[in-house]
Symmetry: C2
């Protein structure tokens, strides 16, 4: 019998890539999404696969701990449901926090019910405006509890706490990844984060907006690299994952996934323009917004050791693939891309 | 018509003092408590007051956003419901996190419904194992998301985020206090925190347990001082509270309340023994547990400025009153006090 996987946020940028990969790996896949930032367009390449089904539902309104709409037994659950870009989560901050909390509680309840493995997608945002660089999993973070990003950051932090306590209190087979900046095809064109902003601005011959002096750095992970990490992590047995966390003095299994290659915002803008030589865009500066992280780079020592994994797609390749995607979206929909109104994510 | 106040956690240590004070100030008072750490014994001095009523209920199971059991209109809401001592919250970590989250959501929904003022009791634990000393309201904290204290710390952190976003998104008239170590009569004898531990050990002629070398410091606020701060804070109009937060660059109204007088754990043990000269207890050392804060002292500059408030009860006076209370409890109930199994809170 086929393994059955649930992917919350399955119609989102990362969720749809994961669904596609799980189908290719022979799974039956159920994607659950409220289509707030996800879209049916992300599902088109596999929507007709008989092993795939889609449930339009919102994790904040599904009953916990006995989910009724899902009369299936899952072997693996991937919790990816949450608005993740500032433009989207700041538009609905309370909803974002509740999605983070109720989404993980829903998945934890399902994982308990079915004895399923659970992969919870956490985020580098739990490190906040990090005071150490690069960030490893032992760093406790620097987050403002009452700032305009706290709806996301604190929602994701308490989700980690809930996962850790479900492992300790109910022996749930859960594991967590803290995902650093990831990009690729199916990113939301209005996402507001730096890769999509720059590409869309360059495609439309608009000025490319650099906040501050552009020397702040980011790391950029191509989506396929991340999905490889997910799959490798879920292949491991519970005991191995827990022993590894314990060996490393972590209260629960959590690893960073990201690409440690570090680029300044200005370098990213220049690379984007180099890949679009016909663009008439110029680089312009704007003031840096509040709470914008100055640096963000993952230490992926633990993921390398535990998973035998590391990112393989160079930034130039990934950017070229992403640009191809955005070109096709712009042609198909004629949508007006938004201009960034926030810092560089 | 009398003002009507709701106190969640109203049968707890602090909640019961607050109820008593609100009754004295002429309020109708509803206390809501699940009696997990609170008790009916804490209510006896005012339970017969016709202006007082008690609802035994759990904020984690009450409906939000339309609370049915409370067909009352409140003018003031005080959210004090949450297990606050490690002994209690570590016994039920998931429940503790949910109490923090659902409790504040319940109160925020009620405050919206009634246009009530809301005072949310946050905690110095949002600062975690602080890397700055003393802590002021601008410090973002140092908390382990997946440690054995994260159920409380992260639950309280995300509650602050939810309050801040309800102010921004729904204009709720909320204000927050971060409460530092507070002691006094009606502390739970099995609370496990340092003041009650030391007093009970001294009363029973047991060894007084000092974790580590006893040079870690704590500040100790007498309960009546805290209640004075609550009342002064709630007297202020919304505009004043918000303008003050904005002037000080805080994303939402939050102030520390505590007593900045700093004592080592060893000094506290010695003061306790000095007030109980007949005790045969000796001081003994044990290893320091994980995640134990090394220092904790409030900067109360903002509370002084905003409220014209400062703590007035010296430690020796407060300790003497607390010892009198524990003597009476020990005499009445013959309960066996627990010995500390955790660090000094």
């Amino acid at each position: 019998m086929k393994k059955t996987a649930l992917v919350t946020g399955g119609a989102g940028f990362l969720g749809s890539h994961l669904c596609e990969r799980l189908l290719a790996d022979g799974y039956r896949v159920v994607a659950l999404d409220n289509l707030y930032t996800g879209s049916r367009a992300n599902l088109v390449t596999f929507a007709d696969n008989p092993d795939f089904s889609f449930i339009e539902a919102d994790v904040t309104t599904l009953p916990v701990p006995t989910p009724q709409p899902l009369n299936l037994t899952f072997t693996e659950i991937y919790n990816l449901a949450c608005p993740a870009s500032p433009v989207h989560y700041q538009a609905r901050p309370i909803f974002t926090t509740l999605t983070s909390i109720k989404g993980v509680l829903f998945c934890l309840a399902l994982a308990r019910r079915d004895g399923a493995k659970l992969l919870h997608a956490s985020t580098s945002e739990v490190y906040g405006d990090a005071l150490v660089h690069p960030q490893d999993e032992h760093y406790w973070g620097n987050v403002n509890t009452i700032g305009i990003r706290s709806c996301y950051d604190e929602g994701k932090r308490v989700a980690e706490a809930l996962v850790a306590d479900h492992i300790r209190e109910h022996d749930v087979d859960a594991r967590m990844v803290r995902i650093f900046n990831t990009y690729g095809p199916r990113m939301h064109p209005h996402d507001g984060r730096v890769v999509s902003n720059f590409i869309m601005q360059a495609l439309r011959d608009e000025d490319i907006t650099i906040y501050g002096d552009g020397t702040q750095t980011r790391s950029f992970q191509y989506c396929d690299d991340l999905i490889n990490a997910f799959r490798a992590y879920m292949e491991l047995p519970k005991d191995r994952v827990r022993a590894f966390a314990a060996e490393h003095g972590l209260g629960a299994p959590v690893i960073n996934t990201g690409n440690p290659g570090e680029y300044t915002i200005r370098e990213l803008a220049e690379k984007t323009l180099a890949l679009l030589p016909g663009s008439k865009s110029r680089l312009v500066s704007r003031p840096l917004p509040g709470d914008d992280p100055k640096q963000r780079r993952p230490d992926i020592t633990l993921a390398k050791e535990l998973l035998g994994w590391e990112p393989r797609i160079p930034l130039d390749d990934g950017l070229a693939r992403t640009i191809d995607y955005f070109k096709s979206v712009a042609l198909e929909s004629g949508r007006q891309p938004s201009t960034a109104t926030d810092g560089h994510r």
